[in-house]
């Protein structure tokens, strides 16, 4: 029943998104612009600054993720459909997981474009260790999106929600950013540090487990008035 609800919500979100593709296109373009802006900020003498690639990648993910979350829940705010979902005879945490899965799919599409872009622009060997890299991206994005989905859902009926989402989200996801950047950097540096990357990967996985559990617990109490 739980999984069925998750699937229904994801399917509905996909259906809506495939119609207009608005969020995908705008988020993707925003992520690319981010990378470019940072590229102009950090590239000097035609050589990439050390570790800049890792940092720029994760900042682009964080910024575009925040944008995507805001837009996704703005949609649910029209016609108050989030309320309609809450009124359905389903496990409410399943609604959270469904929304989270949708956001993750969206960010996966964005990353599929941004990661090669960063690799290209900074001559960074991001595909040298594909499994670890994919693992870091997966766990890091999940951690960020897990906290972000909960906060964005909570803020649907708050005032000043546009600016409050980043204010609340960024400090709490700092460990994710640090883990993602340092893990990626460990893979990019000349003497590749695989054990270090694995350590960061484990920390991110831990973060994901802890915070998804917390989000599942707090979703219902925080959404009821």
């Amino acid at each position: 029943m739980f999984l069925r609800t998750v699937w229904l919500v994801v399917r509905k979100d996909l259906l809506i998104e495939l119609r207009s593709r608005e969020i995908v296109y705008t988020t993707l373009f925003f992520a690319i612009s981010c990378v470019l802006v940072f590229a102009f900020g950090f590239v000097r003498d035609g050589r990439p600054v050390e570790d800049a690639a890792a940092g720029i990648l994760w900042i682009a993910i964080a910024f575009s993720g925040t944008l995507a979350l805001g837009r996704a829940f703005e949609r649910e705010r029209q016609s108050e459909t989030l309320r309609a979902l809450m009124m359905a005879p389903v496990d409410r945490p399943a609604l959270y997981v469904g929304k989270l899965a949708g956001v993750l799919l969206l960010l996966a599409v964005v990353e599929a474009v941004v990661v090669p872009l960063v690799a290209l622009m900074f001559q960074a060997p991001l595909f040298a260790h594909p499994l670890l890299m994919a693992g870091l991206l997966a766990t890091g994005t999940t951690g960020f999106a897990a906290v972000g989905t909960l906060f964005a859902a909570m803020l649907v009926r708050a005032r000043s929600r546009d600016v409050l989402l980043p204010i609340l989200l960024y400090p709490i996801t700092i460990p994710v950013i640090i883990g993602g950047v340092r893990g990626t950097a460990a893979l990019l540096q000349p003497d590749v540090d695989l054990p270090m990357a694995t350590v960061w990967l484990s920390m991110l996985a831990c973060f994901d487990v802890v915070f998804i559990t917390l989000a599942l617990w707090t979703f219902e109490p925080s959404m009821t008035e």
Binding site: R157, R159, S160, R182, V210, L214, T218
Partner: protein
Amino acid sequence: MKKLFLPALVVIAAMFAWAPYAIDRAPYESTMGLVQKIFYFHVPSWMVMFSSALVCGTASAVYLFGGRAAADRVAQAAAELTVLFGTIGLITGPLWGRKAWGVWWQWDARLTSALVMWLIFVAYLLLRKYGGAGSEKLSAVVALFGMANVPFVYWSVNMWRTVHPKTTVVMTLQPEMGRPFLLCALAFMGLYGLMLAARVRLERRRAELETLFLALED
């Protein structure tokens, strides 16, 4: 509880009045000299900040899952004090660093993770102020997440720091230093307790006023 407030206030005030003498009499630290003495106020304010963050997180959990409005008042007061004592720590830290090591900001693991915690609770206060109706529950979630984050923040900043050169000086606490430190630590803790109690009482009065307002219409 109310009866204890005034005597406690007197005692804490006396401790703070005595503190400068005690600090003055404590021996100089070998490498840093006079500047090191800021540590007697700097470290206790961090201790209070982290305890306050813990109080806020726990009270928020109680409010979120138990629904008791009193817990929310404690959480709000604790969050304000977390930011206050964190600010003291963030000001004294760079002051110390500038004189001791020549730089205003050192990406020291503890200082940086404390900064992150401070940011989380500033976000809590911003949410309460600007979030509109119903932001009590939302901020409770933020505080809970903030508290759960403490190990992750500290661990990741610490690991991140190992890449950069360490310049922290390990201080050995001689007994002559230990006593004034304990005095200051207790004084700060006591001050925190008093301020928390006073602030919670203010919120409780406000809530009672709201109830009276509503009752007036009957």
